[in-house]
Point group: C2
Chain length 194, copies 2
Amino acid sequence: MSTNQFLPLVEKIKTEGKCLEGGILKVDSFINHQIDPIMLQLMCEEFARRFSNVHVDKIMTIEASGIAPAVVLGYLLKKPVVFAKKKKPSTMANMLTTEVYSFTKQKSYTVCCSKEFIKEGEDILFIDDFLANGNAAKGMIELVEKAGAKIVGMGFLVEKAFQNGGQMLEKLGHRVESLAVIESLDNCTITFKE
Amino acid sequence: MSTNQFLPLVEKIKTEGKCLEGGILKVDSFINHQIDPIMLQLMCEEFARRFSNVHVDKIMTIEASGIAPAVVLGYLLKKPVVFAKKKKPSTMANMLTTEVYSFTKQKSYTVCCSKEFIKEGEDILFIDDFLANGNAAKGMIELVEKAGAKIVGMGFLVEKAFQNGGQMLEKLGHRVESLAVIESLDNCTITFKE
């Protein structure tokens, strides 16, 4: 869990982020409903910089909000991007699947990916918008390991450190890079980790 | 309905596209499951070229497969991208909504967008991966018109001309630019429009 805060994103969250009751951080004006092209570019360049010492064959994410940062990073690094799907599409056979429990939605969902697009021995960089308890990320690790591929890094735009997903992923031996790390959303106040 | 085929995409579909029973074209090795970064860049540069004479305030798409081309086009044009959501998120009030019937899935779904991110008077370029019967595109036109904004162009990576969505959208007065236009998928053979 890096506390290496990416200041342009921290400033943007301070200016445009909204904190709602129940530990919810809304960043839908620039990350997960409307996307700010300048901020997206800055964030992806920062991911490229932080993971520049890692060999990457492919970038993976989960639909839908992870697609934007994954794709622009893929564009910058000229690497293929694979997005795992949240339901098994009717036109797909030969799938890797795993179950993920979402605390936000209080139900499990299936994450799946065609075996064609994660191959044995590939080095996978996982990118997503949020890291909270890390269940989705853990599901992706399982998918990638089922395929015999390897996670070489995990990048998140925003980490809610109080939900301990970063700690859990690091205990599993993964390198986690979060561009903005939030210590608390108590009392509807956004507090960044020092 | 432009029959101005974008040849790099046509070649890619010929090489990697798979035609399944029932008029299904699978392009998931480079468009909607795995994304080829070089092809994505070429396609988005082509959209930028085709819509270079149009004033654009914002790019809109629908999650999830439209996000990749919309975001890279937003990156190239330095314009915000808004992606409409297929379910109303619990953390969103003040939404514009519309119903879309999917022939593929044989059910209706709700498409929604926060009123904050489409404003009266804005010029909207709509981008999506597929144009078939055009129901999703028509739903987006309704959303944008409800907001008092204006669709200035509609760009699709692949159009299935035999499902007549392009014709329908042009009859409604919209400019449609499809990078690859498919005339028929009969007998599991991909035939491009001349």
